[in-house]
Symmetry: C2
Subunit: 342 residues, 2 copies
Amino acid sequence: MKNKNIDIYKIAELAGVSKSTVSRVINDKAGVKASTREKVAQVIKDLNYKPNSSAKGLASKKTHTIGLVISDITDPFFAMFVKGAEKKAMEANYNMMLANSHWVVEEELKCIQMFEEGRVDGILMISGGSEEKLDNYLDNLASNNLDIVVVDRKIKNENIPKLNSDNFDAGYRATKYLIDLGHTKIAHIKGEDIASSHASRDRVAGYEKALSEAGIKEKIIYPGFFARKKAYQVTKKLITEHSEVTAIFYSSDMMAIGGLKALKNMGLRVPEDISIIGIDGIEMSALMDPPITTLSQPAFEMGYQGMEKLINKLENEINNSHSEDLIFQMELIERASTKKLN
Amino acid sequence: MKNKNIDIYKIAELAGVSKSTVSRVINDKAGVKASTREKVAQVIKDLNYKPNSSAKGLASKKTHTIGLVISDITDPFFAMFVKGAEKKAMEANYNMMLANSHWVVEEELKCIQMFEEGRVDGILMISGGSEEKLDNYLDNLASNNLDIVVVDRKIKNENIPKLNSDNFDAGYRATKYLIDLGHTKIAHIKGEDIASSHASRDRVAGYEKALSEAGIKEKIIYPGFFARKKAYQVTKKLITEHSEVTAIFYSSDMMAIGGLKALKNMGLRVPEDISIIGIDGIEMSALMDPPITTLSQPAFEMGYQGMEKLINKLENEINNSHSEDLIFQMELIERASTKKLN
DNA sequence: TTAGTTTTTGGGATCGCTCCCGGCTATTAA
DNA sequence: TTAATAGCCGGGAGCGATCCCAAAAACTAA
């Protein structure tokens, strides 16, 4: 029933060489006569031999596998990030293990622990939880032989490479864009209120900077918790409390989508009566009616480069410490949800 | 720098027992005195010892890992499927490796080959390619010691468990729903035209059955290739060629979204002038204006049960052959894109 | 032709675990 | 008291690769 156990010894036997030589050709190592190499390669091909990865892992202490810790794979941003990470992994001939952490640090740590069983050479994680807790844990981890790259969290440990979007800049530019359109009554629906999200904080700071630069005194900030439904509710509240507002900057596209629905519900036209802008650049925001103007995060690119950074770190044990962190700029995508104020 | 190599021997030493006993408590095997078990467990905990998974894999020939082959993780249906699969995997204490196949069989096969290096105990795949090619390949694979479960393809091999949505029924019910609403001029935008998609074919057949049952002679079928933009174009074509149509059944939500945009563009109101219905139940379809009526595939459930089936097959080597295939019914979600014909 | 090099090749130890089997210790029965 | 049985535990032989080191082969130069 089962396939005859074909291992490196069998290949060696059939090719008339020793296992060492077979190992050399498998791993493309020097020191094998071309003719021998060819002969062995042929046998390997004929028998469709695949070296056992557990044995390889045991002997070499490398699994050629990367662990991905993601909050929620159904989130379009994360999915695109994973797709980018996978591309680089494939190119570098690495495998990927996936673990969902459902936005809670404890689960993230559990995922990491799972990976600590020597299953992976390194971890790429987008954290969604509190930075402090993460910080503590990662300090311990760093003393292990697991390399890690963290996305979207500003942790303190200097030995851990970080990837972040330039959230301050994004907040600034989104707001500036609305100001340049002539708006002065600009509200902001921010993400979370808790300390765990520096992304939200930085975007708020960017918003404030743009306003103050333009000499606009009134800040109108409501929390939307990065949730569509929450944004829907809070938008209604915002409009009833601040009917003077002519533009809203949402800290995410999903919130903008919720907001758009609320606005329509209240009989407001977008963008004629009110302009809205989001952040993320998810496909969905382009499909809305009207399509929503947004600052797009290069999710694919972030995944790709995050994976690249990790693999580099893995393969050149040199200059491990103090590698430059990566910061990604967002791209403004002008669509039909924003309009010059007349 | 690196952590002192802590292995099963060290635990054994510190606990004052043999490695065999440590192994027994790690794997929860019988034959260890309660007091000994406790003592060993304590040492394991104190040292935060994690058995090396490569060594485990080598010795036991089980990796406790499942390979997932998915066409595109950024597709919301697949993402939700993966989420379901992951839930079950976690519960059963399995890990998951992810590989994207970008909708082409060759890449799917490459992914499978990658997994054949003994990295995984089994494979769960949603295929997006031609059924014949897949059939051939899987026949070979079956003779290996890799278990596999295939979603969304009707392959012939009887030993491979399959999961499918009841596409015929979905096509039938979608059409019937429109008929019950009083429509008689009902068009269908189908998926692909090529032989590779039985899903599309079955839905078309369901559409035809419903029409003929209702004594409606005229079938109006256009190909939309499961692509939003294609559906946009073809919808415009359809309307100009068949202005009498009052309802369109799209073979996917994405196509319905493209169609909706086309309809609006042409000045048609949905659902007042024309009703539309889709298939899939992706979140996006609920966020459209109007929200689109659809038949929802239980993606999460499918992932969960697919993984469950695979793990069962893995763990009970018994009754391997001829396990019942799983067929999932879709759920009609009535939203605002369909309306009684007056 | 022979010694000295450089390439190729083979063998053995090892990685960290599982699992089988035999031995030891206790407990029970006669 | 002694033998039989059951419950615990330890030791050794793999699992299938890598990698170091020494041996063999091939090549060079004198």
